[in-house]
C-alpha cells in the first residue's frame, strides 16, 4: 500500500545543496572538465555509454561528474536523459568486418589474415601501480609502423570455410528486430531481443554469469575466436534522401566466442558461437556477453537447462542495473505505513502465541495438581 506523506521539503533542498558541495569537494582543487574525463577516463565513459545505452561521450562524462563517479547512478542519469529525445530511426546494421581496427586478437588462430594487433591493452602489463603517473610526467608518443592496410575478415569466416562452425545467427525472413525500449519483455524471447538486453546489461552481473559457466555451471568450452575493437561507420535511411545518410563513426567492441557442440540427431558435430557487441572499448563486457549469449542458447541445442546462466528469464530480468538499483534502493524510502501494519500483525501474533503458551502452562499445572 502507498500512502502519501508530506514534509521534508527543506531537508531535501538542503541535502541537495550539500550534495552539490560535496561533489565539488575542496575548492582549492581545480574542478574537473568534461574533456578531461572523456580523454583520461575513457573506459569509464564507455561503460556509461554501453549500459546507459546512449552513445554520447560528453553526456556520459557529465553523468559521471554529476554522479560523483558512481557508475550506476551515472548510467541512470543517461537512461533518464535518453527518454527525452525523439527517435529519428534505426541505422543500417554496422559492418564490423570493415571496422577501422584498433585492437584485434584471436585465441584460436595464430596466423590469421590481418594478424594479431594488441592495441592499447592492459594485457601483459604487470599490474604494478605507477608512481610516475601520480607525478604527472610526460608520456611518449606511440610508435608507428607504416604498412599497407590489410583486410581483416572475421575469424568466424575462416572456420566457416571448412563448414565446422554454425553460420551467423539468422532470423526468419520477415522478422523485424525486436526492441526492448518499445515493448515489454516477454519470455521466451528471440535471440535478437536477448542480445539487445545483454548489450546494455550490467558488466559485473554478466561477468559473474560468464565466469559461472567456466566453473562448470553450464560449461560450454569457450575459446575467444576473436575480439576486435575499433570504429564503424553508421548510416541511416531517411525519407528525404535517396541514399542512406552517413552519420559518422562510433567505437564498438565485438567478441566472437567459439564453443564446442557434440552434435545432435539433426546437426553434425560443429562449433557453435556466442556473440558480443557493445559500445566503446570494453572487451570484458563483450566477452561476458558472448558467454551468456551462448549459455542462453541451451534450449536451441537441446542442452539441459541446469544453471543460472542458461535461464533466460533469470538472466535477462536481472541484467539491467538501472532496474535492479531502482528496486533494491527503493527499500530505503519511507515504508512507515507498511511497517506499522507489519508491526501490528507481529504484536497480535505474539499476543496470541503468549496466550496459547500461558493456557498450556495453566493446563499442565492443573493436571499436575490433580
Amino acid at each position: 500500500m502507498y500512502v502519501a506523506v508530506k514534509g521534508g521539503e527543506a531537508a531535501i533542498a538542503n541535502a541537495h545543496r550539500l550534495l552539490a558541495d560535496r561533489r565539488r569537494g575542496d575548492r582549492s582543487v581545480p574542478a574537473l572538465r568534461l574533456d578531461q574525463i572523456v580523454e583520461q577516463l575513457a573506459l569509464g565513459v564507455d561503460r556509461v555509454m554501453s549500459e546507459g545505452s546512449l552513445y554520447d561521450r560528453e553526456l556520459a562524462a557529465l553523468a559521471i561528474v554529476q554522479a560523483r563517479g558512481d557508475m550506476i547512478e551515472a548510467i541512470f542519469l543517461v537512461r533518464a536523459y535518453r527518454t527525452t529525445l525523439p527517435r529519428f530511426g534505426y541505422t543500417r546494421a554496422v559492418e564490423t568486418g570493415a571496422m577501422l581496427v584498433e585492437r584485434r586478437v584471436s585465441a584460436t588462430y595464430k596466423d590469421l589474415p590481418g594478424g594479431q594487433l594488441l592495441g592499447p591493452t592492459f594485457d601483459y602489463t604487470h599490474r604494478l601501480l605507477d608512481p610516475e603517473l601520480a607525478a604527472g610526467g610526460d608520456v611518449e608518443e606511440p610508435l608507428r609502423r607504416e604498412n599497407e592496410a590489410e583486410a581483416m575478415p572475421r575469424v568466424s569466416a575462416i572456420l566457416a570455410r571448412e563448414g565446422l562452425i554454425e553460420p551467423d545467427g539468422d532470423m526468419p525472413r520477415d522478422h523485424i528486430p525486436g526492441d526492448i525500449t518499445r515493448e515489454p519483455l516477454e519470455f521466451p524471447m528471440a535471440r535478437d531481443i536477448r542480445l539487445q538486453a545483454l548489450s546494455r546489461g550490467d558488466e559485473g552481473f554478466l561477468l559473474a554469469l560468464g565466469y559461472s559457466t567456466q566453473r562448470g555451471y553450464a560449461r560450454n568450452h569457450p575459446f575467444v575466436g576473436e575480439v576486435r575493437i575499433g570504429e564503424v561507420e553508421l548510416e541511416l535511411d531517411v525519407p528525404e534522401l535517396p541514399f542512406a545518410v552517413p552519420l559518422g563513426s562510433i567505437r564498438v567492441t565485438e567478441c566472437q566466442m567459439v564453443n564446442q557442440f557434440k552434435g545432435s540427431a539433426k546437426a553434425p558435430p560443429q562449433f557453435t558461437r556466442g556473440y558480443g557487441l557493445v559500445f566503446g572499448q570494453s572487451e570484458r563486457k563483450a566477452m561476458a556477453m558472448a558467454l551468456c549469449d551462448r549459455a542462453l542458447r541451451a534450449t536451441e541445442f537441446g542442452e539441459d537447462v541446469v544453471a543460472a546462466a542458461q535461464d533466460e528469464e533469470f538472466v535477462i530480468s536481472h541484467s539491467d542495473n538501472v532496474q535492479a538499483t531502482g528496486f533494491v534502493e527503493h527499500l530505503k524510502l519511507p515504508h512507515y505505513v507498511d511497517f506499522q501494519a507489519e508491526l501490528d500483525l507481529v504484536r497480535r501474533m505474539r499476543a496470541e502465541h503468549d496466550a496459547r503458551e500461558n493456557a498450556g502452562k495453566a493446563e499442565e499445572k492443573r493436571e499436575a495438581a490433580e
Binding site: P86, R87, F88, G89, P239, E240
Partner: protein
C-alpha cells in the same frame, strides 16, 4: 527521387510549443469527451490532408508509431513524404498494425473493427483514429455520456462513418479493447475515447 519542396515546408514553425499546444488540446478533449477545443492551424500539409489533422499527426506521431492512411491520403505522394519528413512516422502495412490512422474521408472509411483493438493485456496498443471532419455542428447530433462528462454532451460532426452509432456501440462492448477517435475539424478538435457511450436520440 528527392522529395518535392512542398513536402519539406509547412511543418510546425515552433516545433516544441506548437506540439505542446496541440497535445494539450488533445489531452483536454480526451479528458472531456465531446468538448470542443479550439486550435489555430499550426501546420500546412499538402492536400488532401487537412491543416488540423496534419498538426495532430505532427504532435502525436513519430518514428515509433506506424501510421495508416486511408485511400484518399494514400494516393498522395506529397502527403506521405510530408508526414515522413516532419513526423518521421513509418507507414503501417495494414490498419491492424497502425498506432495511428489518418482518415480524410470518414464517410467512406472501413469498419472500426478493422483497426488494431489492442489486447486484453495491452489495451493501449489499439489504433487511435484521426478523422478529418469539416465541422462539429452540421452532422447528426450525437448525445454522449460516460467518464469525463458530467451529465451529457452533444456534438454533431459532419459526414461520419456509415452506421457509426452501431459501430461505436460494438466498440464499447470490446472494452477494455477498442479504438479511440480524434475528430479534427477546421479550427477545433473533439474526442471520442472508447469509454464514451453514444446515447441513441429519440426521434
Amino acid at each position: 527521387m528527392e522529395i518535392a519542396t512542398q513536402s519539406i515546408e509547412g511543418g510546425f514553425a515552433d516545433p516544441v510549443f506548437n506540439a505542446q499546444t496541440v497535445f494539450r488540446a488533445v489531452m483536454d478533449a480526451m479528458a472531456q469527451p465531446g468538448s470542443v477545443q479550439p486550435l489555430p492551424a499550426f501546420a500546412h500539409p499538402p492536400a488532401p490532408l487537412s491543416a488540423m489533422a496534419g498538426a495532430v499527426a505532427l504532435a502525436l506521431c513519430d518514428n515509433d508509431t506506424p501510421l495508416w492512411l486511408d485511400p484518399a491520403l494514400q494516393i498522395s505522394a506529397a502527403v506521405k513524404s510530408w508526414l515522413g519528413f516532419h513526423a518521421g512516422a513509418p507507414l503501417a502495412n495494414t490498419p491492424a498494425d497502425a498506432h495511428f490512422a489518418l482518415i480524410a474521408a470518414p464517410a467512406e472509411m472501413m469498419a472500426l473493427d478493422g483497426f488494431s483493438q489492442g489486447t486484453q493485456d495491452y489495451p493501449d496498443r489499439s489504433t487511435t483514429l484521426i478523422l478529418q471532419v469539416s465541422d462539429l455542428t452540421s452532422g447528426t447530433p450525437l448525445l454522449l455520456q460516460g467518464p469525463g462528462i458530467e451529465k451529457t454532451a452533444t456534438i454533431a460532426p459532419a459526414r461520419m462513418p456509415r452506421h457509426f452509432v452501431e459501430q461505436w456501440k460494438q466498440n464499447s462492448q470490446r472494452f477494455p479493447r477498442g479504438v479511440d477517435i480524434i475528430l479534427a475539424a477546421a479550427d477545433s478538435i473533439a474526442c471520442l475515447p472508447r469509454t464514451t457511450r453514444i446515447k441513441t436520440m429519440e426521434a
